[in-house]
Symmetry: C2
């Protein structure tokens, strides 16, 4: 397999992973029976627009509703209103949408059905500050969380306890109507209470847990938010809470299913797939070092499997920002991988966010070839310097090795594939 | 397999890894033919004493020499003098031994043979400061390196350029005698020029490389050492240098061979071995997160192989010291693994240094069981707090889960095994 074919295969693997999570393909099979009463569709997430449209296309009865998605992720719908808001830092549009959604599910009857469409990013998009807090308080805390090195699970625990809608509060507001939540997972373990901070799912985490996370990362600002959690008065609905009795969840897409789809394509292409994990975590550059070590083991010792093979992994790494550069987790991972592999002649790799947006940039991720470092040096670019400055986007941009997909309208977290020829 | 059997298997896997690198087993097959002239044995490393003794036991002719090993690693020898010195920070004993060794190889003839016994740790044990530098300069720089987060390859590059004996300078001093170096590898790629800073091997690294590493980690102290490297006057012998023409190397033990030995025992015990890599690097706690992710993938999805299996890896992680606790890389790795696994009921693990000394403590490593966190909590110990304080030794000590072997008299780097039942 030459370099062009290797790059084409890696790109095809990423596309297969994204396609497996496309709501137009995976949502219809999970629709509930139409109710005797009204059907209200609500929801939030990067896949909100595409989930709403896929639902409309296949729903046999009357329908109304409101779904919020990220700026740039809206697609045309006919019966469900789709609005856009900010991610990863919430804005006024998200706050207004959350308030409208909470209002929309007031006064429903037991004959009514609420279909809630939830996908990654929904946590920031459904911004309803708890009583006494402002959106600015939530925004400031969110910025602190994103820079702290906290895991997404930790960030969502804090968010739930600063919210009037997350952690099961939305489903409680829908009672006595039936609530069916269709989920696209972007979190380790695919726990519905974690995805988008689980607005329709009982919350096992407590104010005390949220406080421990703030203390762990030394996040004391803004004081109003910190003190609100520290007071611990307004707890989320816990498992067994009666107003959640008619709320159920259905998982329509997961990181694992997307990795399996990529693995099937690799196998059909004569390359042995090795799925390392659907939810790997850790500092991006160190996760890259471990991936590099495993890839070198394949190249040198044909372990854990013989080449040609592709190492596949999902999950969300973290970047502790030390520099002033541009780039998301995937660019950082791939840049660290390039440094560690030192131009290994048999290794290509791709790392992309399946939502099509790596961090806050316009790319999904990037691609690494055996001559990445050599081409960079020819341009006068030192990979280690760019890594020290967290500047992966600029590095791969100058090499013209960014991968651009635009918003994919779904989100099953990051996708990494390392091909050893 | 119950918990007792799991722990026993993990301990047996570690013992098998160490045994595969035992000089008494692996050295005799690599001895050269006796020379026409004298045979001089020199060397340094944690395995110095056992390598010298194994050589004595099998050498047919006359023999003399001097080998330096770490304090506590000396064993009785008859013809080769073995002296002890400090590791990882060099001391006066190492400096004196290095001077004596350099003196011993002066004036040899082409009929003479030098057998050089090199193993991990030899870099610190053979302390011969370059002209104009003091041992205190080297010690201070070494302390800075060990705390910086630099890889062992990077540390050795710097050490070579502050030394009068490393980076091929020792072999150059032996010319015109034949030099056969027997090596036990503890470095990624098993490169003889890297092990113990390659005293008998041409050095491809330059003063400029060493300077870049000092700048990368912002190591400017002591000024004399920094300025010496910055001046760049005293370069090491490069490949092709005539005085190294009669110097050859033989690898007698490697991390990979030890992992293979553990893998063979696992297989014989009905547990599928998965060798992830013989030289994984990265910050210990992040490397632990990736291992945890792979172990969970086995438990949840039977990937990359079905349970029961054991994930095996070698190589040296790094610890960026932020806290004030006690513990080496392996205790830190295992503590982070415990936190990440959250008491997973099917996972046991062991992490140990094959030299029997984790960092600067008296333990080789530790063992993790499904109830590690629960037992800790019962004692009022919060694993996350100990991790934040880099205090893995204390944590596992209080649980009575440290592994003590004493010095093993060999060194093929760290050994990690994660058993998923």
């Amino acid at each position: 397999m030459n370099s062009e074919a290797s790059q084409a295969l890696l790109r095809a693997l990423f596309d297969a992973a994204v396609a497996a999570a496309d709501p137009f393909r995976c949502l219809p099979a999970y629709l509930p029976e139409p109710p005797k009463g009204r059907t209200i569709v609500i929801g939030a997430g990067k896949a909100g627009g595409s989930m709403a449209r896929a639902l409309e296309d296949h729903w046999p009865g009357p329908l109304e509703g409101l779904v919020v998605t990220r700026y740039g992720h809206k697609i045309p719908t006919e019966r469900i209103e789709v609005v856009e808001a900010a991610h990863p830092v919430p804005d006024e549009a998200g706050r207004a949408a959350a308030a409208r959604i909470l209002n929309m599910v007031q006064g429903l009857s037991a004959d009514d059905l609420v279909i809630c469409l939830i996908s990654g990013g929904g946590s920031a998009l459904l911004a309803a500050p708890a009583e006494g807090l402002t959106l600015a308080d939530k925004q400031a805390m969110n910025k602190g969380l994103l820079k702290s090195g906290a895991t997404i699970t930790e960030m969502n625990c804090v968010r739930k306890h600063l919210s009037a809608i997350k952690g099961g509060r939305l489903a409680a507001a829908c009672a006595p109507a039936q609530v069916v939540t269709l989920l696209i997972s972007d979190v380790p373990g695919d726990d519905p209470s974690v995805i988008a901070s689980g607005p329709t799912v009982a919350d096992p985490t407590t104010c005390a847990d949220a406080l421990a996370i703030l203390d762990k990362y030394n996040l004391r600002e803004p004081a109003a938010a910190y003190e609100y959690i520290k007071r611990g008065h307004d707890e989320t609905p816990k498992p067994g809470y009666p107003r959640l009795a008619r709320a159920t969840t259905r998982m329509i897409a997961t990181p694992q299913a997307s990795l399996e789809a990529a693995a099937a394509l690799a196998l059909a292409s004569g390359v042995t797939p090795v799925i390392l994990g659907d939810s790997l975590e850790g500092e991006s550059r160190d996760v890259a070092l471990v991936h590099a070590g495993i890839a070198k083991q394949v190249a040198r010792h044909n372990q854990p499997v013989a080449a040609p093979c592709v190492l596949l992994s999902g999950g969300e790494t973290t970047v502790t920002v030390r520099g002033k550069g541009r780039g998301g987790r995937n660019a950082e991972f791939l840049l660290a991988l390039a440094v560690a592999l030192e131009g290994h002649p048999r290794i290509h790799a791709v790392a992309c966010d399946t939502d099509g947006v790596d961090g806050t940039e316009d790319n999904a991720g990037a691609i690494l070839t055996p001559d990445t470092l050599a081409r960079a040096e020819a341009l006068g670019l030192r990979a280690k310097d760019f890594l020290a400055n967290n500047d992966g986007y600029t590095f791969f941009s100058k090499l013209k090795d960014l991968i651009h997909t635009g918003p994919t309208l779904t989100n099953v977290n990051d996708f990494r594939a390392i091909l050893v020829r």
